[in-house]
Amino acid sequence: MRAGRLRLDRSMNAPLDVRAMHRPRRASVHVLREGPNDAALVARAIEADPWASEQLYKRHVGIAMTTALRLLRNRAEAEDVVQDAFMLAFGRLKQLREPAAFRGWLTRIVVSSVHRRLRRRRVEPLDGLEAEAAADASPMVRAELKLLDEVLNQICDRQRVPWILRYVLGYKLEEVAAACDCSLATAKRRVRAAHDVVQRHVSVGERGR
């Protein structure tokens, strides 16, 4: 098995075996990489350059949308969160101490908005992992994703969010901690707690670390 990969494997009557590696490939996220770097774009956006704001938006809307969608599992809510997050980010660009870290900062805003939305009201998981399966996904893959969806429904938001960041989106634990605005130890503890629940139905192991 390749490094940086996550795999589910099982034998008859055995629980699913999910093997998560460090940082999966994010094939489905469209990230615009041409043109000036983030630091330059942020500097120009602060000067009210509309082109720079548009480039920043289009460069990061994919990753922001992916993060919000996987966490909320509801496309309409996710889009709303992403638009709010950009609104907040563009309004506070001057407060960004490291312009090059725009993406991480935006992710933190998105995750924080997701938490706030989940606290305020129940968000129906209309677009869970199974509903978002790729067009060419086999029935078995869809069944696995459905099972994972059901397991995730049993986990509280505070633990599910870090787990999804870690195992579905492939964030490093340090990135999970930064996105959730908590210490590394807390992030590890929450991921582990969610992991224990997942493992009752889906055996999860990490290799190659």
């Binding site: 094939a27 996220v29 469209h30 996987r70 609104m87 563009f90 209309l126 067009a135 893959v141 994972l148």
Partner: protein
């Protein structure tokens, strides 16, 4: 939950790689446009929020007001969503009656009765307000007293506002008549003082023609008895706009949009729009649209959306704009309908806009977007008029 029954490795890649793209190519552009509109609306929203906060702070300091608010909260049932038909179906946007009267019983106990040959439109259906326009004919609105909604009925230039009452509005070629059976209503008419009518009272509002005599195309309405007010005789005359402005306004008021446009012309229309408020902008856009000048209409609808995105009329403008764009610019139409979805207070306008957005997105080739919106439609309006076509879109 059942135990896993499948055998062997299934997912040998990151979970994310088995999922479809969260944002299909091209969708970033749509989201960016939507974001820009939201940015433009932000100052108005913030101002609105600040006003609300200030109002609440004032209310909080006034014990009497608080007590009154509590009384109102006890007496009035809280609004839960848009007004629906008594059977649970959504109240349609377009109401009409041809040879026989048509009765619409509503889920809050209110009722709308349309006389034969009547056309009305619900332009806004929100938890706190329902806004209808009477295009022609006669409609009786039996509004449940103590309900949470303010009812606004417009017939030409006349505007009737009530909370709980029964009244009839009749619109014929050049005349609008309002009769009150129960309760109190306020009738607004441009250039006149607001008329307050009580049970048993009527008011007939004539729309003068250019020469100040009744339009001969429609028979004058014999006002019902008793007539407490006849504005043409008792009230001060309306403020007379000067020159061509008076002419085009009069023509528009009696539904002669082609004549109004002929007086204004494209240049005059845009010049009049320069300092116009949202209500006037909408009127000018409607003149252009109804006189078959879609380019001018689209320009004015866009101006309204840009200048006053938080205004109640902005979603109505966006909806009309979307309808005009739908045939040739489906992508732009989808964006306009999306604006309605994000800005309208609720109700039938949102239902139609959501369905039309899905159809426009599909025509523009954005299948993922179309499916997403179709799912939103089915979730919000499972028994809606377009539910079947949305199902077909998702299963195709």
């Amino acid at each position: 939950m059942s135990d896993p029954i499948l055998n062997g490795p299934v997912l040998d890649a990151p979970v994310e790689e088995h999922l479809r793209s969260s944002i299909p190519p091209g969708d970033a552009e749509r989201m960016w446009r939507s974001f820009k509109l939201r940015q433009q609306a932000a100052p108005a929203r913030r101002a609105s929020q600040l006003r609300k906060r200030a109002a609440w702070a004032t209310v909080g300091t006034l014990t009497i007001a608080a007590a009154a608010a509590m009384m109102i909260a006890l007496v009035h049932e809280p609004a839960r969503g848009p007004l629906n038909l008594a059977g649970g179906h959504a109240l349609p946007n377009t109401l009409g009656a041809r040879e026989t009267p048509n009765v619409f019983d509503l889920d809050d106990g209110s009722r709308i009765v349309l006389a034969p040959e009547t056309d009305a439109q619900i332009v806004a259906n929100a938890p706190d307000q329902i806004h209808a326009t009477l295009a022609r004919g006669s409609a009786t609105f039996d509004v449940r007293p103590g309900g949470p909604r303010r009812w606004i009925v417009e017939a030409g230039a006349a505007r009737v506002e009530v909370l709980g009452t029964r009244f009839t509005v009749t619109r014929r070629a050049n005349r609008v008549e309002v009769h009150v059976d129960r309760g109190v209503v306020a009738v607004h008419f441009p250039g006149r003082e607001v008329s307050t009518l009580r049970a048993g009272e009527s008011v007939a509002l004539g729309v003068p023609t250019e020469r100040g005599v009744p339009d001969e195309r429609g028979p004058p309405v014999e006002p019902e008895q008793p007539i407490t007010r006849s504005p043409a005789e008792d009230d001060p005359p309306p403020l007379e706009p000067r020159g061509t402005e008076r002419l085009w306004r009069e023509r528009a008021a009696r539904g002669d949009y082609t004549g109004a446009y002929r007086i204004l012309g494209s240049r005059g229309l845009r010049a009049s729009a320069a300092g116009a408020n949202p209500e006037e902008l909408l009127l000018l856009a409607d003149i252009a649209r109804r006189s078959a000048h879609p380019a001018d209409a689209m320009h004015l609808y866009q101006q309204l959306m840009e200048r006053a995105p938080a205004d109640l009329r902005a979603p109505v403008a966006a909806f009309s704009l979307g309808r005009l764009q739908a045939a040739r610019e489906p992508e732009a139409a989808a964006t306009s309908f999306s604006f309605v979805r994000s800005h309208a207070a609720g109700g039938a306008l949102i239902e139609d806009a959501t369905g039309l957005e899905a159809e426009a997105a599909l025509r523009a080739g954005h299948r993922a977007h179309a499916e997403r919106v179709a799912r939103i439609y089915l979730e919000s309006f499972p028994n809606g008029r377009r539910a079947e076509s949305m199902h077909q879109m998702l299963t195709r």
